[in-house]
Amino acid sequence: MFGFTALGVLLAMALVLVRGLAGPTVYDRILAVNAFGTLTVLLIAVHGFLSGRPDFLDIALVYTLINFIALIAVTKFAKFAHLGGPFEQRSWSDV
């Protein structure tokens, strides 16, 4: 049962990857990456049950968070072409 689900999710991942590679506009690619991330989370959760060690779901949780943060960064880059702003008039020194 879990095996079937895992294979199904893998097939969906392949489909999403094709859209990612082919995607004409950058927004298609961002969509593909978002869907790919969610499907990976599902794959890890299903595999946890498949291998009989369901207590590894922290990894799936981390994937969700990282997927969200990477997505916000990509979208912000697609829209504003920089990640730092908004820059109020405040200067600082790093060194």
């Binding site: 291998s51 009989g52 060690r53 207590d55 590894f56």
Partner: protein, 118 residues
């Protein structure tokens, strides 16, 4: 029903060679850095796949499990991943500085610009 024999290693070697090819052939500096990342991640996949034991579960002791996959490749790769990210961070910082100094991040353009200022 894992495919026995060395077929898995050959795919991993193919991955390594794709990464290695990207590093050598591509002219864009950012693409070189990410090609290097691909090459390193494939070497790590090679390490972890040699630690896998048939039917062994993750190396965290739990009741009811006897065989465990080998923990040592995981330890080595934890170190190597951090080294990879550290190199990537310094590499990307250098790319930004090169862009400021030379105005381009293409290998051939920079080589031309480098030549004239002797």
């Amino acid at each position: 029903m894992d495919f026995p024999g060395l077929f898995n290693y050959w795919i991993v070697i193919a991955l390594m060679m794709i990464g290695f090819y990207i590093v050598i052939s591509q002219g864009n500096l950012v693409k070189k850095i990410f090609g290097l990342n691909i090459f390193q991640v494939s070497v790590f996949v090679f390490y972890i796949s040699m630690g896998k034991v048939e039917g062994g579960t993750a190396p965290i002791l739990a009741p009811g499990f006897a065989t465990y996959t080998n923990p040592i490749p995981s330890v080595l790769i934890l170190t190597a991943i951090v080294v990879g990210v550290a190199t990537m961070a310094v590499g990307l910082a250098l790319v930004v500085r090169i862009r400021d100094a030379f105005g381009s991040i293409e290998d051939d353009e920079i080589a031309k610009l480098e030549g004239d200022v002797t």
